[in-house]
């Protein structure tokens, strides 16, 4: 499974992009500082709103800040929000969805009610209210809020899957052996959900990155923190689109799109592995079949 996972080019490309951004988030700011000697916060009034050039590879913004340094610094902020939000959201989905599906009955009724409640909550207004209530919304707070309001869809999917697995014969057989509930959940049921959980996690990550960008765009975020969302927001505030300062908002937008594409690619690849039906019609095997038909087989 672990090696089959990497044979798909979609998975490899997707994981490559994600790895690049993770490395960028971890080491990028340090590299930019030490190699290029740039500080994302430094205002250089000599070069305001410069297009990309030799000095500033991605140009500078209205405040004379280097866009490349900002994108790299923003990677740290955005990836941090994405990962933390996804971890919180996925963990809550597991803790609420799996027991609901496995135990059924009253446990299910209670947990499912909670899930449905969160599913129909108007999340964005609520986030606005909560963010307003918690004064000084740091980037961690934002991530936690995104995770806390974003688990319900995943919990529903997990509940359905856990329900179907809990009724499979092998779980019945282990229960008949006298295996206890918690062990049944973690040793028998949960391992079958890893693929689904991984895919949910990636989805949640795209969601969190986007949500952060969206919230920043609406002005709900720590304006002193640098993330792709805050970059786009300040570009918007300075009417960068109207003034044709495309190098200000395109790089962060592109980064967000790239992260989304990478997560989607990994998900497609995982889907193909989990569901062989998507694989049989792959052009490679169809081509091979045609070649076989022409040459009349290996004989």
């Amino acid at each position: 499974m672990s090696t089959a996972f990497l044979t798909s080019w979609k998975v490899r490309v997707g994981l490559g992009i994600l790895a690049f951004f993770c490395l960028l988030a971890v080491f990028g700011p340090w590299l930019v500082d030490s190699l290029l000697g740039l500080d994302p916060r430094e205002n250089d009034t000599a070069v305001i709103a410069q297009p990309p050039g030799a000095d500033h590879l991605l140009g500078t913004n209205q405040f004379g800040q280097d866009v490349l340094a900002q994108v790299v610094a923003g990677a740290r902020g955005s990836m941090y929000v994405g990962l933390l939000g996804a971890v919180v959201g996925t963990a809550m989905a597991i803790l609420i969805g799996v027991p609901a599906g496995y135990y059924g009955g009253k446990v299910d009724a209670g947990l499912n009610f909670l899930t449905n409640l969160f599913l129909v909550l108007p999340v964005l207004p609520l986030i606005l209210i909560v963010a307003g209530y918690l004064e000084g919304t740091g980037i961690t707070t934002i991530a936690l809020i995104i995770g806390f309001f974003g688990w319900s869809g995943g919990a529903r999917t997990l509940r359905a899957q856990a329900l179907s697995i809990a009724n499979r014969d092998f779980v019945r057989a282990m229960r008949m052996l006298g295996e206890r509930g918690r062990r049944l959940v973690f040793a028998e049921v949960l391992p079958h959900l890893t693929g689904l959980i991984a895919s949910m996690f990636l989805h949640a990550m795209i969601g969190a990155v986007m949500a952060e960008a969206g919230l920043a765009f609406l002005g709900i975020s720590d304006s002193s923190a640098i993330s792709w969302g805050t970059m786009i927001q300040s570009a918007q505030q300075q009417s960068a689109v109207l003034r044709g300062l495309w190098w200000w908002f395109v790089p962060p937008g592109l980064c967000i799109a790239l992260i989304g594409t990478a997560c989607a690619l990994v998900n497609f690849g995982v889907d193909e592995i989990a569901n062989p039906k998507l694989r049989v019609a792959r052009p490679v095997s169809a081509r091979r079949a045609k070649r076989l038909a022409r040459t009349g087989g290996g004989a």
Binding site: R168, F170, R172, A173, M174, M176, L177, E188
Partner: protein
């Protein structure tokens, strides 16, 4: 009739039967789309008794309630009425009792591909069973016991199999692992829910031979649930036939198969392929067999005898009152009005198809 059975039941302190289901019924309530409920009467007043070292076959078509009965005996379902009795003691529903019960009674599932977790090796399955039921064993003791168990089910050399995942094994080998896992508990009773029906034809007999060996060598009692009456005859001592949730006939296998005393048993036997009788005389063999009817719905079963709408021997009383149980000697009994009315002789002289044709002609002649 049920009182007759209770009178015969032995005293609780000297249990003759290791496992009994006494007059158990199971009704499932199904909620309709508009909130209305319907009741499916899956099993109605069924009685099963297993002596130590006995193999009883429960034969019936799908929907006859045989699997529901097995699942009640495996404690997956609580009976709606009636009781499950282990060694003369009524089994209660709490969790602790359930665990004790499962250390004596184990179920072999139909699907060997579904009853082993694909993510666990063979060793894990057996090791968990031993951990839970033989807690006195050390890790080393468990290891030797695993080897013994695998050899018991003819997976030799055992070392080749302990580290295998289910998908690396064939269907027959998986079912052997499932049996070994059940044996790790050291049960007294095995329930086999169509344990061979998903296996390749050529390896089914070896599986039956293995189950037979567990009875003769280890003294296990076995309830063998099947739709295949020929395999039931091969494996078991007694046969019980179920139709539409009720038991219609039971007795020593050769008596039941050679001279079925219920029209449904007769139909079932005549419908089962048997090349010995068949080859060559095909037209005669299939004559009249294209209108045999179908089992009734269990939501609204026929009144009286549930077989009467399909029965070529049906009488007016069949539609009104359920037939009494008639003892035919040697432990053979049937529930059919033919016996009460002295018409049982008619069963032996004809086939179901021929009797149906004769009856139709008679009805047409009368009208």
């Amino acid at each position: 009739m049920s009182t007759v059975l209770r009178d015969q039941a032995p005293e609780a302190d000297t249990p003759e039967y290791v496992l009994e289901a006494r007059d158990v019924s199971k009704h499932f309530t199904v909620r309709g789309p508009l909130g209305g409920t319907t009741v499916v009467r899956a099993v109605e007043d069924a009685t099963v008794r297993l002596r130590p070292g006995q193999i009883l076959a429960l034969v019936g078509e799908s929907g006859s309630g045989k699997t529901t009965l097995a699942r009640m005996l495996a404690r997956f379902h609580e009976p709606t009425r009636g009781e499950i009795v282990l060694r003369g003691e009524r089994v209660s529903g709490n969790r602790r009792a359930q665990r004790a019960y499962h250390s004596e009674v184990q179920l072999i599932f139909q699907d060997p591909f579904g009853s082993l977790n694909p993510l666990h090796r063979v060793r894990y399955n057996l090791d968990r069973a031993l951990c839970l039921h033989q807690p006195h064993l050390t890790a080393k003791g468990r290891e030797t016991r695993i080897a013994e168990l695998l050899e018991r089910v003819s997976l030799t050399p055992a070392a080749d199999y302990t580290t295998k995942f289910p998908h690396e094994l064939s269907g027959g080998q998986r079912q052997r692992v499932v049996i070994a896992r059940a044996l790790a508990v050291e049960p007294k009773v095995l329930l086999g829910d169509e344990p061979i029906s998903m296996l390749d034809v050529s390896i089914r007999l070896e599986m039956l031979n293995l189950l037979k060996g567990l009875r003769t060598e280890d003294g296990l009692a076995l309830l063998y649930i099947t739709h295949d009456i020929a395999s039931a005859r091969y494996l078991c001592d007694e046969i019980a036939v179920m139709y539409a949730g009720q038991m219609v006939e039971s007795g020593p296998k050769e008596d039941v198969i050679a001279s079925p005393q219920h029209p449904y048993t007769k139909l079932l036997i005549e419908s089962s392929p048997d090349p010995e009788r068949g080859v060559g005389d095909r037209d005669k063999l299939f004559a009249g067999a294209d209108e045999l009817g179908e089992p009734p719905s269990l939501i609204d079963p026929p009144t009286g005898c549930r077989f009467h709408p399909r029965c070529p021997f049906a009488m007016p009383e069949c539609a009104v009152e359920a037939p009494p149980r008639t003892e035919l000697g040697g432990g053979h009994w049937a529930k059919c009005w033919l016996h009460a009315k002295g018409r049982a002789g008619e069963l032996a002289g004809t086939t179901h198809a021929a009797a149906t044709v004769a009856r139709r002609e008679k009805l047409q002649g009368a009208s």
